[in-house]
């Protein structure tokens, strides 16, 4: 039961974060929000008895993917300046 509640809460958070990621004017916020979506997703994976996936999602989805986003954004900003 506690799992259920956690799942619902995290599910709602994921969706809120996703909407922020899509709609927030600031791209940086968007990228971070997308990373947070991944992070929350990995918690869902843990609930779903998938630690391997959780680990991968955390490392790749919310970690490296976000880093790559930022690197690209940085390069774009630097070229702008």
């Amino acid at each position: 039961m506690i799992n259920l509640i956690i799942a619902i809460v995290i599910g709602v958070l994921i969706l809120i974060m996703a909407i922020i990621a899509v709609h927030h004017k600031n791209i940086v916020v968007g990228i971070i929000a997308a990373g947070v979506v991944s992070l929350f997703a990995s918690i869902l994976y843990l609930l779903l008895a998938a630690p391997d996936v959780a680990m991968t999602e955390a490392a790749i989805g919310s970690g490296l993917s976000t880093v790559i986003f930022f690197y690209v954004l940085n390069k774009i900003k630097r070229q702008n300046g």
Binding site: A7, V37, I60, V72
Partner: protein
Amino acid sequence: MENLNLEIITLITGIILVLIGIWGLLTQKNLIKIVIGFTLFNTGIHIIMVSIGYVKNRTAPIIDQSVNINDVGNSVVDPVPQALVLTAIVIGLGVTALMLTYVLKMYQKRKSLEINNYNDLKW
């Protein structure tokens, strides 16, 4: 509440996430935002996949002390979707990295992140 299973909640989350991702991908004009939309779409699919492999009240498909070695078939969740998701996540990262690189290259050529500025090829 009795119909409300864990995997159904996550499944619905995944489906909505897929839709939000496509929505973002289709409506945002900023190239990076479009890529963000794609990653959400991808994550949504991954959540759907993992939900499908879940079996009520079972543990991770790793045989350790908590699992009875003689009754593995009745104590772990389906490992196959998890294996598939692992593959899919890595593929997704590769595709995301590629998209971003293309965006970067496009920006370098034309100094714009507006997707409407890249409509030269058409008809």
